[in-house]
């Protein structure tokens, strides 16, 4: 088997039942032969019981009991499939407005977003919402699937009009890479196999696109950042003096001999070794989990960050961020929350809600200052001690944080640093 160098691509899908999102995922799984016989049998039985004709592909992705009863998806569900080219992880999220928090969650780790548009309806509020989230979370690649082309006679004009509509509203957003595809998930046009109904479309089908999008450059290879998770002190024979800083490289590249600075203390040293179970490495880059040793004995613990001396993040206590509120309890004014940023944990306060943003119209509201579930706002944050931050646009790991309510221990907000 030639599995050796296949990459992993994570993508998110957003859409409502009506868009045919579940059908599309079911089609991808089915046509790529990722459905097992017993799953097919279970779905066929349910389809029959519900009175559907044939196999309802959407049922492959419907998860928990409550959802099957309600006929909607209410949380992020993860699906997996593999082709000879890549392994895929789908974060499948519901598209309703009240589930912004799930879309944000699914989008946070995605390399690509699939946005579905019903060809009969064109760009609607939900399309704008999903595109906004993709842009807010800086998903590197956006694939807009104009679905149900079979219901508009596979019309090139309908497709082109929708692209124009889309480009018009999305010009205000920052998305690095957008592609468009006319598909019919129900009939399989341009999903795995090229459509015979749309000879006017020259592009590759969806699966081929997913298999070939260039994702190696999605991670930041410039700014070397190494948040320390824990310190390894084996204190056993052969390793008496070993002191390894364990963590996952957030971005950039580290090599033995590099001049590094430990933040927030500011002590400097050189990288001595980069170790894994098998080997000492010549270089380490994101997202590798390693253990790093330094030439000098410095006091380093969880929450510290090792960076290259000639390229340092800003240690800062006050900054602006876009915040998505994720909890039923609204934000309390001037309340203190625990902030988790990389492996660092501090206290933080929301100093000011600058404006809230309507994710359907992109209008700003500077009057309403209350942060409720699913709200997205620009805020000013103050922390008790400095955080070593980068802008989210440059670095999804060192540019992101969550807030935790100390009264409930729940994760109540997700932030992207501006």
């Amino acid at each position: 088997m030639t599995i050796d160098n296949n990459q992993l691509l994570r993508f998110t899908t957003a859409g409502s039942v009506d868009d045919g999102k579940s059908t599309l995922i079911g089609r991808l799984l089915y046509d790529s032969k990722s459905i097992f016989e017993d799953q097919l049998e279970a779905v066929s039985n349910t389809s029959k019981r519900k009175g559907h004709e044939g196999v309802d592909l959407a049922l492959f992705t419907d998860g928990l009991k409550d959802e099957r009863e309600q006929g909607i998806t209410i949380d992020v569900a993860y699906r997996y499939f593999t082709t000879p080219k890549r392994k895929f992880i789908i974060a499948d999220t519901p598209g309703h407005i009240q589930y912004t928090r799930n879309m944000v969650t699914g989008a946070s780790t995605a390399n690509a977003a699939l946005i579905l548009i019903d060809a009969r309806n064109g760009v609607i509020e939900q399309t704008k919402r999903h595109t906004f989230i993709a842009s807010l979370l800086q998903i590197p690649h956006v694939i807009v699937c104009v679905n149900k082309m079979d219901l508009v006679d596979y019309s090139e004009k309908v497709y082109e009009d929708i692209i124009s509509q889309f480009e018009e509203f999305s010009s205000k957003l920052y998305v690095k890479d957008i592609r468009f595809l006319p598909i019919s998930a129900l009939n399989g046009d341009n999903v795995v196999n090229r459509s015979e109904h749309m000879p006017w479309f020259q592009g590759a089908p969806l699966l081929h696109t997913l298999e070939h999008i260039h994702i190696s450059s999605d991670l930041n290879k410039i700014d070397a950042r190494f948040p320390v998770q824990t310190v390894l002190r084996p204190q056993r024979e052969g390793f008496i003096d070993y002191r390894g800083y364990a963590g996952r490289v957030a971005s950039g590249i580290f090599r033995p001999g590099d001049d590094v600075t430990v933040l927030p203390s500011g002590f400097t040293s050189k990288v001595k070794t980069i170790d894994t179970f098998e080997d000492s490495l010549e270089e380490a880059y994101a997202p590798m989990s390693i253990s790093m040793t330094l030439e000098d004995d410095i006091d380093i613990s969880r929450g510290d960050m090792i960076v290259k001396t000639n390229n340092q993040p800003e240690p800062i206590q006050e900054f602006d961020a876009m915040l998505c509120w994720l909890n039923n309890l609204p934000a309390r004014a001037r309340a203190k929350y625990t902030i988790l940023h990389t492996s660092n944990e501090q206290k933080a306060m929301i100093n000011e809600v600058v404006y809230k943003i309507d994710i359907n119209t992109y209008n700003r509201d500077e009057e309403d200052k209350e942060l409720k579930m699913n709200d997205i706002a620009r805020i000013k944050v103050r922390t008790t001690r400095p955080l070593m931050i980068d802008e989210y646009r440059d670095n999804r790991i060192t540019g992101s944080f969550v807030l935790i309510d100390d009264a409930t221990h729940e994760t109540v907000a997700a932030g992207m640093i501006l």
Binding site: Y80, T109, Y242, P287, L326, T411
Partner: protein, 301 residues
């Protein structure tokens, strides 16, 4: 110039190591739930790599139904010795003897559901604040929504509708006394990934996974091994077959498949051509369409 990306197995491994290190950093008394099955063996292997050159900082906890394959117990004890880690055993038989649970009756009685009480008791008795499991999201539809860090209330219960959102790679393990977490470092792995990884890393696994001759009976569409716990039903006859197991659970409910795959390479070939999911041979999942979700809510693995 070298390539600056990881292949998918390296990326999955790195993610799992990251999660294991977060568990160690965020909890006081974490354990690895060890069943003797391939997934918990892979998690233990990953823990070895995550903390090297230090040794595995977690105890292994085994919930022993008493209905084991002897091979599983033998394998478990060898592994404990090899890694020099502590073993905690929660015994279902003890839970029955103490009157904490009652043995199921009837034709398809198993001790599967009884494990929940034993597991939760063992977690409470040993003051465990995080139990690391080998659960994967591809196994079953209820598992598809599990978080890496999954919160359990002070009754040990999972509330799938009220899960903490998990964004980027930030994990929130904060909890009140009496509550605990389950952590799933190989959430994003599929059965195929696990086998490819076992092959690549040459990880030793119990002989039960390899094709071997065994006495079995045909029941619920799979080959159930003959053991002292198996009561033959009318019309059932004992066959001698060359079989292997795709998952390992209780000897009473784990069905084998006919196979000639007696090496890791052959198993990987066989699994990649499989037409049934691995849990298709587990009668515990066949009881109802939502049986896994119902058990998970109560505190199952």
């Amino acid at each position: 110039m070298s390539k600056y990306y990881l292949n998918y197995l390296d990326e999955l491994e790195s993610e799992a190591i990251y999660i294991l290190r977060e568990v160690w950093a965020q909890f006081q008394n974490p354990v690895i739930l060890f069943s003797g099955g391939k997934d918990s063996i892979v998690v233990t292997h990953l823990a070895k790599k995550a903390f090297y050159p230090a040794k595995i900082p977690f105890a292994l906890m085994h919930v022993d139904t008493g209905h084991n394959f002897p091979e599983t117990i033998q394998f478990r004890d060898q592994l404990i010795e090899e890694f020099g880690v502590q073993l905690i055993v929660g015994s279902v038989q003890e839970s029955i003897d103490k009157g904490r649970v009652a043995e199921e009756r009837g034709k398809n009685a198993t001790r599967n559901a009884l494990q929940i009480t034993t597991l939760l008791d063992a977690i409470e008795d040993n003051k465990i604040d995080c139990a690391i499991g080998g659960g994967r999201r591809d196994e079953e539809k209820a598992r598809a929504k599990e978080r890496f860090f999954s919160h359990r209330d002070d009754f040990g219960q999972w509330d799938p509708k009220n899960q903490r959102p998990e964004l980027w790679n930030i994990l929130n393990g904060k909890h009140f006394e009496g509550e605990h977490f389950r952590a799933f470092p190989i959430s994003n792995w599929t059965e195929m990934d696990v086998w490819n990884y076992i092959l690549r890393e040459n990880i030793s696994i119990p002989s039960l996974y390899f094709a071997h001759d065994r006495e079995v009976v045909w029941r619920n569409n799979s080959w159930i091994p003959v053991s002292e716990y198996l009561k033959l039903e009318e019309g059932e006859t004992i066959h001698k077959k060359k079989i292997r197991f795709r998952t390992l659970g209780d000897i009473t409910i784990t069905g084998g498949i006919e196979s000639d795959a007696d090496t890791l390479e052959k198993i990987v070939m066989e699994v990649s051509a499989m037409k049934q999911t691995e849990r298709g041979n587990r009668s515990d999942d066949k009881r109802s369409e939502t049986s896994m979700e119902d058990r998970k809510r109560q505190g199952y693995f």
